[in-house]
């Protein structure tokens, strides 16, 4: 295996701390997960890790023009190039700094790898009682071809605070970059967080993105994942509710074509009573793309009065597209309302016929219906610019020209 050897060589040259060394040894013992691993049964890393990579390599600076081209044009921008923080906004009551080491107690192989190799990322702390109206844009730029890079980020949202983020990873002058990102988010009491992930990188990019959210009482977190570009994407989104009346919401949209693969793993751990979770993932799969959805809801003993809803809807629009879906419920308390629904199908033939009989072309009619299908999830995004971008990307991906502006 190419990458494993690179990692060994790289780590031998570095002087890792005892903790990092033991985490790395732990990872190397079993290596990257394979399809024999239950959590990876539909997603093979084999191709991704057989390539030749440099590790944590650093390239050039990015120009202002390039930043402008890839940003949503928001006021607050945090910019990282090859993982290094190079620019940050000055906002009252919020401290932003570069990577700082922290330990997470997960047992995931890729988290262990991330911990032992990471040197880059961001640290954001929103102080208590702060409301930041303007969303904050986080832009990661990669400039080195064939690079395997770790981001390790931590966000803390203080008591009674509110904040919105948009995170985007963009390759510039390079294509084959493999990112292993880990983000730890603490939502303190009565805080409110919206975190949008725009995954629309170059055609040969690979991404493993793990986000762990820890919520205290009365906190609300909304995580939206928008997947459009990239060859291999694996999202691990985990919520842990450690206080009553916490709410976790997640929306996901995947629109894939060619040989793209997107794997969404979500896990909500209801550890406290009177909490809620809502999950809506929509997938549109074209050409030879492959989708994986694994949504797990766990209700612990004594976590009574939990409402947990999950829905996963998929449109398979090509003969060669594949979807593997595994919605999972593990319930250990009795006074709960939990449900999951999963549908896989096609566009309604009658609706298509209705439009075509009124002079709308086949492709356009399909696009309109697909758009309507995805809108349900897009409409949950509160930042207008992000919602508009999602709509634009969706239309582009469907490869149609809709003359009216939706």
């Amino acid at each position: 295996m190419g990458l494993i050897n690179e990692i060994k060589n790289y780590s031998d040259k570095k002087n890792l701390s005892a903790d990092k060394r033991s985490a790395l040894d732990n990872f190397l013992e079993n290596g990257f997960p394979t399809i024999k691993d239950e959590e990876w049964r539909y997603t093979s890393l084999k191709k991704t890790i057989s390539g030749k990579y440099s590790i944590n390599a650093v390239g050039r600076d990015v120009t202002k023009k390039e930043v402008e081209k890839h940003s949503l044009g928001l006021k607050h921008k945090i910019i990282l190039v090859d993982g290094f923080l190079i620019s940050k906004p000055e906002i009252k009551n919020i401290s932003i700094s570069a990577y700082s080491e922290f330990i997470s107690n997960t047992n995931e192989a890729l988290e262990k790898l991330n911990y032992s190799l990471a040197k880059n990322g961001y640290t954001i702390s929103v102080h208590a009682n702060t409301t930041i109206e303007e969303p904050i844009e986080i832009l990661f730029f990669n400039t080195v071809e064939n690079n395997f890079i770790q981001y390790r980020n931590i966000i803390t949202v203080g008591d009674n605070s509110q904040v919105k983020f948009i995170e985007k990873i963009q390759n510039i002058d390079c294509d084959n970059v493999f990112v292993n990102s880990f983000t730890h988010i603490n939502c303190e009491s009565n805080s409110k967080l919206e975190f949008n992930k725009i995954q629309n990188n170059t055609p040969n990019s690979s991404l493993i993105d793990t986000v762990d959210v820890f919520q205290k009482k009365d906190s609300v977190s909304n995580i939206n994942t928008l997947i459009f570009g990239g060859k291999f994407i694996r999202n691990n989104l985990n919520f842990e509710q450690n206080g009553t009346n916490a709410e976790s919401n997640m929306n996901g949209i995947s629109v894939l074509n060619k040989n793209q693969l997107a794997d969404n793993h979500t896990f909500v751990d209801h550890k406290s009573p009177n909490c809620r979770s809502n999950e809506m993932y929509k997938g549109v799969y074209l050409e030879k793309s492959k989708g994986v959805f694994n949504g797990k809801i766990m209700v612990r003993e004594d976590s009574q009065k939990i409402d947990a809803f999950q829905s996963n809807n998929t449109l398979l629009l090509s003969e060669d597209a594949t979807i593997n879906s595994k919605p999972q419920l593990e319930i250990y308390a009795d006074d709960v309302k939990c449900s999951h629904g999963c549908t896989i199908g096609q566009l309604d033939k009658e609706a298509l016929f209705y439009m075509r009989s009124r002079g709308i072309g086949k492709e356009e009619a399909q696009a309109i219906l697909t758009y309507a299908f995805a809108s349900e999830a897009i409409n949950n995004i509160t930042i207008n610019k992000v919602a508009m971008l999602a709509k634009k990307l969706l239309i582009n991906k469907l490869d149609v020209d809709l003359d009216h502006n939706i």
Binding site: A321, K326, P327, E330, C342, T343, G345
Partner: protein, 485 residues
């Protein structure tokens, strides 16, 4: 004709009487076992004791060798101490139970259960193994059944007899649906199966009765490693019921059965199971491990319908599946799984769509009470060639008490764009308002729960043959007794 009938009656009479007689000398029979453990020699001994032909011995040895290289699966969401496979006796003479002089000697708890299930006195005697004179009535019923089946050309016998008398059919279909190497337990079963049933329905024949009815009267203990092979030839139809609502107390802790169904073109098989093995006591001591592999294959336009009511066993590991190989074939799965006290169940189904226009329906209802854990684990796989296929799955769980758990693990794989799959699952408890409504109208809480549970399971119970539906309903009540409050 009447002479023949008389003769067969005589034979049966003798069989039964001598069997009863034999039980008197229990020590003598017990000596007819082989030592503990599983070795090649044991497999050879089993085959020799059953006078099997060479091909059968080869089959068993092959399975044994495969089993040696396999590991016991541990992916199911159940916890138990793995049995020591070298501490099991793999062959013993028919199961023995102490013979009672009358029903009055029966464990009063057991008697109460029988009464509640509404099982007739005759049948109670038989189930409890009371030494009584032969009930003429049921013997004649049994023989007349035998005659009707024979007239239609239906073969229904033990698998050992089938190996002797119908080797061609057995050779062709045995392990054609569940390969020897399919899993750890199927390999084990193939190596050491003691006995089981064989059924063949010829072309175009509609089996004139529920094979269950026959089963209930003639069925003797089939032991630990049961093997069932059911073949429905083109255009035939059969309904088969396995098991019994009556509580089965069994000394064997490990049960690893294999059931194979073959539905040839246009055939229709309905296979119902009521399982009520000993679940262990309130502290989870004892109880049967039920590790079963059940699978059916549907050829063109064929249909297989599995219905199961699972209330017993300490640990259940069971996934009745359908391979929808032929175009337009249909697979169905209806299940009620009840767990109480410390029981654990990991059960569900697999629907593997290979043919065009194939349809499958899954209705799974889980009820967990006490400190038990119930799991639904299912797979719906639609392959590339299975165009225009359709699946509908619904798995609901009902929780009673705050110490129990209920889990769903559905796997859905779709590989073409013209198929449709729907899956929904809910978990909830019996509504307080529902119970209050019943209480208000003079229905006690326990009765109210029974009422609500029956309503909840109705979709599945309706699929059972009539007489069992009634018994299964009562069985649910009994299984959940004392779980309220």
């Amino acid at each position: 004709m009447s002479e023949k009938k008389q003769l067969s009656e005589d034979i049966l009479l003798e069989e039964v009487t001598s069997a009863e007689y034999k039980y008197g000398f229990t020590t003598k029979i017990e000596s007819d076992t082989i030592p503990k453990g599983l070795t090649e020699k044991v497999v050879r001994t089993i085959s020799a004791k059953k006078n099997e032909p060479d091909w059968m011995l080869d089959y068993r040895l092959n399975a044994y060798n495969a089993w040696l290289k396999m590991d016991e699966p541990d992916w199911a969401n159940v916890e138990y101490e793995k049995p020591n496979y070298q501490d099991v006796i793999y062959y013993s003479a028919p199961k023995q139970k102490p013979v009672l002089d009358s029903l009055d000697d029966l464990d009063p708890e057991m008697k109460k259960t029988f009464d509640k299930l509404g099982i007739s006195i005759d049948e109670q005697n038989r189930l409890a193994n009371v030494a009584v004179d032969i009930v003429m009535d049921s013997v004649s019923v049994a023989t007349s059944f035998k005659k009707t089946l024979a007239e239609k050309g239906i073969i229904f016998c033990s698998i050992s007899d089938a190996i002797k008398n119908h080797p061609k059919l057995v050779k062709k279909y045995l392990s054609s649906v569940v390969p020897v190497r399919d899993n750890f337990f199927s390999a084990l079963n193939s190596a050491v199966f003691s006995d089981g049933s064989f059924c063949y329905i010829p072309k175009g024949v509609k089996c004139p009765m529920e094979l269950s009815t026959y089963f209930r009267i003639n069925e003797a203990g089939t032991g630990q490693f049961e093997r069932t092979l059911l073949i429905a030839d083109e255009g035939s139809q059969v309904s088969y019921l396995e098991g019994c609502t009556a509580p089965m107390r069994d000394e064997n802790q490990l049960h690893a059965a294999v059931v194979e169904l073959v539905a040839l073109d246009n055939a229709d098989i309905k296979y119902s199971t009521v399982q009520n093995w000993y679940p262990g006591d309130k502290n989870g001591k004892g109880g049967v491990f039920n590790f079963v592999t059940k699978r059916g294959i549907c050829h063109k336009n064929a249909k297989i319908s599995w219905t199961q009511v699972e209330t017993g066993s300490a640990v259940t590991w069971k996934y009745p599946s359908c391979i929808l190989k032929g175009d337009n074939s249909i697979g169905e799965f209806f299940s009620v799984a009840v767990t109480n006290n410390l029981q654990q169940a990991d059960t569900g189904t697999k629907m593997i769509h290979l043919g065009k226009n194939t349809k499958s329906t899954i209705i799974a209802k889980g009820i967990s009470a006490g400190k038990s854990n119930g799991n639904y684990r299912g797979l719906v796989s639609i392959s590339k060639g299975a165009t225009n296929s359709r699946n509908f799955s619904q798995c609901d769980s009902l929780l009673m008490g705050d110490k129990c758990g209920s889990h769903t693990f559905p796997y859905i794989e779709v590989r073409n764009k013209s198929s449709q799959v729907e899956h929904e699952a809910t978990t909830s408890k019996v509504g307080e308002d529902q119970i209050f409504y019943c209480n208000q109208r003079g229905i006690g809480t326990e009765a109210a729960i029974a009422l609500i549970v029956n309503g909840y399971c109705k979709d599945v119970l309706n699929q059972l043959p009539m007489e069992f539906a009634v018994e299964a309903q009562k069985l649910l009540e009994i299984s959940l007794e004392g779980s309220v409050g």
